[in-house]
Symmetry: C2
Subunit: 336 residues, 2 copies
């Protein structure tokens, strides 16, 4: 099953010419999960290769304006498109209070809007995966989120099944899905006799804003991808501590301790170029990337390879008289 992360906005607090405000789309199979929704997110989707899907679920990390001001416009656009499917928005406590204010602006919607406040211990069990919130340290009500897949059954060992006399067909399917079968001669075959060891699922951690701490460390352990803000570098460590934001180095140290496979730093301050953020982190944790808007991180199953940053770029949408990509800058650029 495909799993990737589309970086729709990678700037901190204020947009720049090159980076929009916080928004991240996770695509898993047919699911489209949006994490945070800064001003202009609907248009970032329209400018991307994704388009603007009728999102079913949006997760907010906290209620600073740069993380949610894209919601009223997006909800209005869904309404204007005649949407009828319900939409669920998840966030830390305070979500309903926020919407008490937002609803005065976007008014009545023709579809159902469900608001779900989540804290540590809550979680969404989706069968083959779960989405679990954890508390982050940002001085306000704030969640990070873990998307974790259950282990998949091991590979089916055809030779072993042949040797045990399991006929080709239905019985093998039953065994693969984890149940025993009884052969015509009365022999009971259990799945462990024909399946290899369970194969690990994948784990994404979206840390939101905040200082690196124990909750993030525990959440991030062995993650395939950790997405975390790095608003500051070490030369602004005091300011980072005051404002309860991460530094690139601080997150890199945590990523190393948590043995994550790939660290993606985002929420980049307009005081920095992109590259020095990556450089500072890579001194400690080489597997660090600082995605640009529209970049995608592809997350294959472990046996198929490492998470990979794919350079993106705004697309002119199909049907335009002038199709083709906007230019994809090949170097990291200053975003003043």
């Amino acid at each position: 099953m495909d799993l990737d992360l589309v970086f729709l906005g990678t700037s901190a607090s204020v947009p720049t010419a090159n980076r929009n405000l916080a928004a991240l789309l996770v695509r898993r199979g047919g699911d489209r999960l949006l994490f945070d929704c800064g001003e202009g997110t609907q248009r970032q989707l329209l400018r991307s290769s994704v388009g603007l899907p009728d999102l079913a679920e949006i997760f907010l990390t906290h209620y600073h304006a740069d993380h949610f001001l894209g919601l009223p416009g997006m909800l209005k656009t869904f309404a204007l498109r005649g949407r009828e499917a319900p939409l669920t928005i998840y966030g830390p406590p305070g979500l309903r209070a926020l919407f008490g204010s937002l609803e005065r602006i976007f008014g009545k919607l023709p579809y159902q809007l469900e608001l779900v406040e989540m804290t540590l211990g809550d979680g969404l069990d989706r069968g083959d995966h779960a989405i679990l919130p954890f508390r982050t340290q940002h001085g306000v009500s704030a969640n990070g989120y873990v998307l974790i897949e259950r282990p998949r059954p091991g590979r089916f060992d055809v030779d072993a099944a042949d040797a045990l006399g399991v006929p080709a067909g239905r019985e093998r399917g039953i065994l693969q899905s984890g149940d025993p079968v009884t052969l015509p001669d009365g022999t009971v075959i259990t799945p462990d006799e024909v399946l290899g060891p369970p194969r690990p699922g994948r784990k994404l951690v979206i840390g939101g804003d905040g200082v690196p701490g124990n909750a993030l460390l525990e959440a991030a352990r062995d993650a395939d991808v950790l997405v975390q803000e790095a608003t500051f570098l070490e030369d602004e460590r005091e300011r980072a501590a005051e404002t309860l934001h991460s530094t690139a180095l601080g997150v890199a140290e945590l990523a190393r301790e948590a043995s994550v496979r790939l660290l993606a730093l985002t929420h980049v301050s307009n005081r920095y170029f992109g590259p020095e953020v990556a450089r500072e982190a890579r001194d400690v944790f080489p597997e660090t990337v600082v995605p640009r808007d529209f970049d995608i991180i592809d997350v294959p199953y472990r046996e198929r390879g490492e998470p990979l940053l794919v350079k993106g770029g705004a697309l002119v949408r199909p049907g335009d008289a002038e199709p083709g990509r906007e230019p994809v800058p090949t170097v990291e650029e200053r975003t003043p």
Copy 2:
């Protein structure tokens, strides 16, 4: 004095990959006046050659979400930049009620925000020009705005002044600014003796949303540039009437009757390509343009030429490692 209009958002109701929501910047000398502020306007400015100035005045035409949702984020950005200069927002009645809701979202600002509700008969006298609201027919409290310059004094006729014995120097300045002077021999020279006929000022009309009607016709008379929405074409005339929006043809007929010099149609629905909107209007009023985002209309004094559409394009800002323009499509494109 330079005068131009920078089209920051030309889409109706919802953004597209190519067109953002309503916003128009008028630059006159050092003044920067923003008309409407759809979601994402601050970033459109950052992506343009203008940058995001500390705007002193913003004018709203009405309170549909696609015309104001960019305000909370822009006001927050000004706050984060440490702005101290006051900001005045003008709009039709209902402005204070709107901000009663918006203030719950953007919170306390470190600078003064003044809200001024304007209706027909109000107006801002700025000496050499005035900004006057008029009522538009959009079914809600809605203004259009006229920016009109006072006539400038006529050209100074050096030959006439010489013949009348006006010495070169201070006396000629007094005459040029409209006051009489008395020569040493007691002769009184009046300005009309040395000045040509007054030269007309310029007139911009920003119609906002609504059906073409008498108020718009009167406001638009002899305008150098009329900016008006054309959300629909004639094939959607009924829908235009129901929703109190203009059709391209309807506005073109008004522009012809009002003898405007250039008609700029905006607020383009995502159901249309750009060119057919221009085509429908040009059948009736050839001097019609349908600007794209970042296009600029330059408005010279009448004696210097006609208003001119300059093709724009998003700029990567100076200081970026990769300077230069994003591509400027050379054909009108579909914005689905």
